[in-house]
Structures are given as C-alpha cells and as structure tokens.
C-alpha cells in the first residue's frame, strides 16, 4: 500500500518557487543600451555595433540595410572614410581595433554585387533642390527620397560625385564604385542635372523648389601667395587631382614638392609619384605628430617613396628650385621661422594648403550668414532661412575636420530638418546615451583574435598605376572581422547573464529579443553585471 509522501521530510519538487527571494534585494540590475565609442566617433552617425551585429551572424543584407539607415554610400565610405570609429574602438585596448571600415566596404560591395535596393518613400509632392553631388549632397538627396520628397541634384561638373571623383585619387576610390552607388540613388528617383552651375539659391526657390540643400563643397585651393619667379611652376593640388580626373593629367616633372600636411597633400604626392615624379617631397611647416593627414595615408605615401620634410616653409619658388625656410616650434607649438634658408630642386610645387568654398550662390539669401568662407548653421544644418540647408565643407559645422563622412552625416541631418519643416515637427535628435566605456567591459570573454589585414597592392606596382591599393576582405575575413566586435554597451545575446545568475532570475526571451530580469527572485548580487562582456547591464538602487 503506497501512502501519501512522508510529512515534512519529503517535498514536492520545485516548490521553492513560492519563496520570492527578490525581497532581499537592495540593488537591481537593468539592461541598458549605451553608446559605443565607434558610433560616438562616427561623423555619419552610423550605428556600427548595430550593423556589425547582423554581419556577425552572416546576415549581410540586414547589416547592409542597417548601414543604409544612415549612410547611403557604404562601398565608397568603406574605402574613403578615415574611420574615426576604429581610432575610438575599445578593442584597441585588447589587441587592435575592429576593422569596421573593411567590413563596411565588404558590405557595400556585396550590396552592389547583389543589387540590393532601398525603396523611396511614398510621394509627398514636395520638391527639394540639392546643389552639388558630393557626399553631403548625395546623402541629403537619399534621405529626402526615403521620405518621399522629389529631389533634383544640380552638379556643375560633367560627372557626379564631387570630391569623391575630383578630389580623391582613383587608387583610393575606383570610379566604378562611385558610379554604382550614385546609380542606386538614381534608381530611387533622384534626378541629376550635370554641367549645371547654380548661381543663385533664391532662383531655385522661385522655380518652385520647397527647399534647397547647398552642398557645394570647397573646391578652390587656398593660395598663400608664395613669391615666385616667372618660370616657376606652381600648381594647386585640387586642380591637379581634378585635371587628372578630367583626362588631362598635368606634367609635373621629375622633382615635385607638395606643400602642406593634410590628406590632400598626401593624395597629391602619391599622385605625383604615379605621374612619373622620381622625387616627391612633402614640405610641412610643423612636425609629424601634429600633421593633419591621417596616419594610414602618410604611411602609404612613405611606402611609395614619398619623402617628408618637417619644420619647413616655402618662402620662394623659381624655375627648377624652391627656397625653404627652416622652422622651429615656439613654446605654444606654433611654427616660427629661424631665418635659416635652404634650396631644394623642384620642377613643380603643388600647393595643398586647404580649400575654400565658392558661396556666391548664397549672396542673395539675406538670412544666410557667411563668415570665414563658411556658412553658419544650427545643429540641424539650418541657416537663418529654414528652407536653406547647408551641408558638407561649405558648412561651418565641424569645419576643422572636413571629411566625406562628416558630409554624409550632415546630409542626413539636413534632409531631416527639411522633412521636419514640411511635416511641421521638431527635427530629430539622437537621444543621448551614456558612453560604453572600456572600463565597463569584461574582456575576458572575447576570443583572442587579431585584426585581419586587408590585402594591399605591392608598392612596385603602385608607382605607375592608379589601380586600387587596398583590397577588400573575403567573406570569411569579413565575418571574422565583424565577430571581433565587442558590442560595447549593447547586448549581443551571449547568454552570460542568463547563465551566471545563481538564482535563475534571468529570462531568455528568444533569439533577437534579449533577456528580462525576473525580479521575483533576483537577489541583486550583481554577478550578471560583472560578467556581462559588453557592459550592457547597470546595477541601480532598488526603488523604494
């Protein structure tokens, strides 16, 4: 005869669920979404961790679409962006930065290869003119089309792309890539008018455009007015790069001095080498550590034989020679002349001392304020006239760092400002997020994995060709690189919290859904917080 179970000594399984240990808690864990340093550093405002998350799974289309939320030109940016995200990447403190740029290029190329499309929004009947087809203009055009507004892009040159075509040498950014990504915009319904110089923004408004995006860029090289003999050959770097693109490469001679220390100087020097110069020297008035050019560019230039001459200014140029003044740095780090001079042989001096915008089209716009050659804008790129938006190098916002990426970011902001104007709403602001700093990570959990190096064209083959120097990642390498992402500050579903809780107080919601805390049982021990690899859990005082 089987009786009921013995009283008290024998218990029914799992009955402790009646004991709600959550009442012990003085602090509670909460899931947070912090701002990873890559995104914080991205001038285009890309959610890098977000799109890498999809790439990690091999879901490249979702990854590409996540990029396209912010940046319509991933194949271009995957080549030409100077990737401040990588400089900011927390993984630098573990081994090396995640190769975000390389993965972006992989995804951008894959998007082109597979012909992935973004659909325009439903037609709103609004019309917007975009002046300039550089990165800022294209970005604005794209985002406006996504909202359903009609867009016409006016381009003064014969071909589209602005600085992407006329400023960045082909060995860094092949033109077919530019063509392909621009073509995708055309397929979205963006209309392009080439060889169309816009000289008055108000005229466009008068023609019936509801708003204008001014994205004219900075196309004019700055001329410091170096004393020069009649026979001196002094060219402007932007002009050299443009004429090369127009199929009319200038003759630079064997010995070329490039004057300046920015990325354009590097582009000019490397171009000179490719055009036959045997001795290319970059002359810069300060030192390497304060040189504005990106390291990667400097290293590539040096690898290709370009020489650097620091603490030097050109005080005079004559046929076949230039006079250099040796500089020194004062207490505040400024370059000051020493009065010592040297001569250098130079067939050509190429000036790469920065560019200026031609803003004459804004002369008639009384409420648009221009000073120091740039237009004052609010944080949504709006000028004093809310219908006129200025993005890219012509904008005063971030003028100290004129990059493609910044222009793309501003293009999106400007497009949103216009849409907000049309809709009668506030322009969007990314909600502030606390930073996902390195000290919040538990890096133990990440696999040891050094960065994948992108293949590079051998130096010997670079000297006489404009073939692309940096190659793309293979599928395997791209996946590997994506998986190096530590997903700083944002859950990537590693199940650690779910596993390490001694009280089973974490509920797994399913793939892509993350987790929730079961506060009935959570004792607030904080192990989940300590062991979350990416710092996506905070411990906060228990509410009273």
């Amino acid at each position: 005869m089987t009786e009921r179970r013995p009283f008290a000594i024998t218990l029914d399984v799992g009955s402790s669920l009646a004991n709600l240990t959550g009442t012990w808690r003085t602090e509670r864990p909460v899931y947070v979404h912090r701002l990873p340093p890559c995104s914080a550093a991205c001038p285009a405002g890309e959610d890098i961790q977000g799109w890498l998350y999809h790439a990690e799974e091999g879901d490249y289309e979702s990854a590409w679409r996540a990029i396209m939320e912010r940046n319509p030109l991933p194949a271009i940016m995957g080549r030409a962006c100077f990737h401040p995200c990588e400089s900011a990447c927390n993984r630098v403190q573990v081994d090396e930065a995640v190769g975000v740029n390389a993965v972006e290029r992989f995804l951008g190329d894959l998007g082109l290869e597979r012909g992935w499309r973004i659909e325009p929004g439903p037609d709103t009947g609004r019309r917007v003119a975009v002046v300039g087809s550089g990165p800022g203009g294209l970005s604005a055009a794209y985002h406006l089309r996504r909202r359903g507004h009609a867009v016409v892009v006016f381009e003064a040159q014969a071909d589209l792309g602005g600085m992407m075509r006329y400023g960045i040498p082909a060995y860094r950014l092949p033109r077919d890539v530019v063509d392909a990504e621009v073509a995708r915009l055309a397929e979205m319904g963006v209309r392009f008018e080439v060889n169309h110089w816009v000289d008055d923004v108000n005229a466009l408004l008068a023609q019936g455009f509801d708003a204008v995006v001014v994205a004219v860029g900075a196309q004019r090289g700055r001329d410091p007015g170096i004393p020069a003999g009649d026979a001196a050959r002094i060219l402007d770097a932007v002009g050299v790069l443009r004429s090369l693109e127009e199929g009319d490469p200038p003759s630079l001679g064997r010995r070329v001095i490039v004057y300046g220390g920015g990325d354009t100087a590097m582009d000019a020097a490397r171009t000179a080498t490719r055009l036959g110069a045997t001795e290319t020297v970059v002359v810069y008035r300060r030192t390497r550590d304060v040189m504005p050019a990106h390291d990667e560019e400097v290293l590539d230039a040096e690898a290709e034989g370009v020489q650097m001459r620091w603490l030097s200014t050109i005080s005079r140029s004559d046929e076949g020679r230039a006079v250099i003044e040796i500089m020194t740095l004062d207490d505040e780090g400024r370059a000051v002349g020493t009065g010592q001079f040297e001569e250098m042989e130079a067939d050509t001096v190429v000036l790469a001392l920065g560019q200026e915008a031609d803003l004459s089209l804004l002369d008639s716009a009384a409420q648009v304020h221009v000073s120091d050659g740039v237009v004052h804008c609010d944080e949504h790129q709006r000028t004093g006239d809310p219908r006129i938006i200025v993005v890219g190098d012509a904008s005063a916002n971030g003028a100290d760092s004129r990059t493609l990426t910044r222009a793309i970011g501003q293009g999106r902001l400007g497009a949103d400002a216009i849409d907000a104007l049309f809709e009668g709403r506030e322009a969007q602001v990314d909600s502030p997020r606390a930073p996902a700093s390195f000290d919040r990570l538990n890096t133990w959990y990440y696999s040891d994995a050094e960065r994948t190096v992108r293949p590079r064209l051998e130096v010997a083959r670079r000297r006489d060709t404009f073939s692309e120097v940096v190659g793309g990642l293979s599928v395997d390498d791209a996946l590997f690189e994506a998986r190096r992402c530590m997903s700083c500050g944002n859950c990537f579903e590693c199940d650690n919290c779910f596993g390490v809780c001694p009280d089973n107080a974490v509920i797994k919601l399913g793939a892509g859904e993350g987790y929730a805390f079961n506060y009935d049982y959570c004792k607030g021990c904080g192990i989940c917080v300590a062991e979350c690899p990416c710092g996506a859990i905070d411990l906060v005082p228990e509410p009273r």
């Binding site: 402790s16 590693c494 650690n496 001694p502 021990c525």
Partner: protein
C-alpha cells in the same frame, strides 16, 4: 534575411561566455538553453552571489542533459542542502536525497546498487557535497566508493571552509586564510600552512576512471567534464571551486571573477585525469599574480595594508610559491614538459 553559411570558426566570444548565438544549437552549453533542466530552481535561500548554487546548477543541468534526465542526486549535509530544502519548500527538480553529512558517497553507492538491483541501471547517480562533507567527515565513505569503483559521479563543491556553520576551517582551507577557527591574530595569522588535503590527487590515487577539476568561471569546461564523466561508468570525481562571498569576504558580484583568478593565478589547477594519470589541463590564459586574487578577499585582508599594499611579503611569497608549484606540476602555462 539571407544568412550565409561559412566555415569560419571564430565566434566572437568563443566558448568563454555561457552562450553564443553564432554557433549551432547542438554545440551550445546546457546553461544557454532556455529549456535547461534548472535542477536547482529559483527561491533557494543561498546568499546573494553564491558560487555553490551556481556550480550545482551548472553541474546537475549538464548531468541531466547527458543522462536524458535519468538522474538521481544524493546530497551531503551542508549549505547546499540547507539552502535548497528547508521545509516546506525544495528547490530541486530532480529526485534528490539527503541523508547525513559524512555519508553521501555511501548513500550514492546504495542508490546505484538499488537501482541496478531493481532493473533501473540506466538511471545515473550523482553524489554531491561541500569540502567538509567530502574532504573531512565524508572522506572514508568516499574512499570506499572509489576503491569499489561504484558507478557514481561524486561532485565536491569546494568553498574552502565550513560555511554552513559559520565559516570554520576545513581540510581544504588555504594557508593564511582567516576563518572563525583560524582568526587573523597572533604571530601567524589565519590558517596554518599544511600539505593541504588535495582531494583530486587523492581521488587519482585510487586510480578511478575519471577525475577532474573545474571552476564556476569556465562553464564550457565544467559542462564538458560533467558530460565526459557521464559517458563513463564506475567512480568519477569532479572537484569544483565555488567562491563563497560570505566566507571569503568578497563582493557578491566577484564570485566568478574570483574563480577565474584562482585558475589564472595557478592556485587552483584545472585539469582532468584518467585512470590515475593527468590527461589534460586547461591552460592559464591570462596569467595573474596571486595578489590580484588575494586582494579581493577579506579572509586574506591581514596580508595587505588598508591601502592595498602587500604587508606580509613572506606569506604572499609563500602563496605565490604554491601557485608556481601547481603551474609547474600541471604545466598550466600550456608548455608540455615531456
């Protein structure tokens, strides 16, 4: 959504984290499974951050998976027993028996014999106890079980003292550690340095088919050892280091960190042995000095100044020497001595 299948064998967090959405389901840990056994479920009365509660669920869930839930557990008296089964509630979700403090191994032997004798030999048996129940009061029955090679997996959750009774010294308490019976006073504060009661090596001396050590900091390692143990019949011994916030005087959130440091410093060698010989070690991945482990625990606070400087260099050096000896003995830096 297009998902590409590629042969890439790098998975972001590899096997360090509990789960990994990037690997196939069958290669994921038992703990990452939302339908895991939860052999020890919520509502138990362990302290916040208890390493033993965690270790027990890790081990038993893995054993449940490996045995297709055909498992019976026998428990020695101790924290695990007390916090899991105070009348009228139990946190266990598998057949579970508590008899006494010192007899878990023998009871498990009886369970295995009883199951076999009644035609249920496929049901597997796990015995579990703390370091007191295993190394001290239960050593005789444990040794007998080993010697007879009874078909039981014995798991010791080692928190290095009698925590249930208020943190008194046990046979596995490390040298210099303060406990309620080895106070940090006098000329040699804390526990005396002895030879230590090295349970895994004692188990190996019985030449049982499988002996392994693990910590709650390395789930995959722990689970794979449980699974390996469950593939074998005869006596098997698994020794799991489970930090105790109460007894060690550590922050409750540091439980896994401490277990990890115990391994990374070399103080707790993680290895496995077959038939009495070491067959594999889990190498140290990021070597750490013992100080970084000791500093986090109030039971070693007397070795440091208030500012965290080493106050007792000789003792810290002695502990470091123990770690170094383990590193050499087991080849924990991944070097093959052969």
């Amino acid at each position: 959504m297009s998902t590409e299948r590629t042969p890439v064998r790098f998975y972001q967090v590899g096997s360090f984290a509990v789960g990994n959405r990037l690997v196939e389901l069958e290669r994921r840990s038992a703990q990452s499974d939302p339908t895991r056994a939860n052999s020890l479920t919520s509502g138990h009365r362990a302290c916040a951050g208890c390493g033993e509660a965690l270790g027990a669920r890790y081990a038993l869930d893995a054993a449940m998976r490996a045995s297709d839930h055909q498992l019976v557990a026998v428990n020695a008296t101790g924290c695990l027993e007390v916090f899991s089964t105070p009348y009228p509630e139990t946190s266990w979700r598998l057949p579970w028996l508590h008899s006494l403090f010192g007899n878990a191994a023998a009871v498990a032997t009886g369970v295995a014999a009883g199951l076999r004798a009644t035609g249920r030999g496929h049901v597997r048996v796990v015995a579990q106890g703390g370091d007191g129940g295993t190394a001290d009061i239960g050593l005789g029955p444990l040794s007998g079980m080993f010697e007879r090679n009874d078909d039981v997996l014995y798991i010791c959750y080692d928190n290095e003292a009698y925590m249930n009774t208020g943190v008194q010294r046990s046979g596995t308490t490390p040298g210099a550690a303060r406990t309620a019976t080895t106070e940090a006073v006098g000329e040699h504060p804390g526990n005396r340095f002895g030879q230590g009661k090295d349970l895994p090596r004692l188990a190996m001396a019985h030449e049982i088919p499988y002996v392994a050590t693990a910590t709650v900091a390395d789930l995959f390692d722990l689970e794979s050892k449980v699974e390996r143990a469950m593939e074998i019949s005869g006596s098997r011994y698994l020794h799991i280091l489970v930090p105790c916030p109460l007894g060690w005087g550590s922050v409750s959130s540091d439980t896994i960190r401490l277990a990890r440091l115990a391994h990374q410093t070399g103080l707790f060698p993680v290895f496995e042995a077959r038939d009495g010989d070491v067959s594999a070690v889990t190498p140290i991945r990021h070597p750490e000095p013992v100080e970084s482990y000791l500093r986090l625990q109030k039971r070693f606070a007397h070795l440091f100044t208030r500012e965290g400087e080493v106050a007792d260099r000789a003792t810290v050096a002695r502990i470091q020497a123990q770690a170094s000896r383990n590193i050499t003995r087991y080849g924990l830096l991944g070097r093959d001595d052969d």
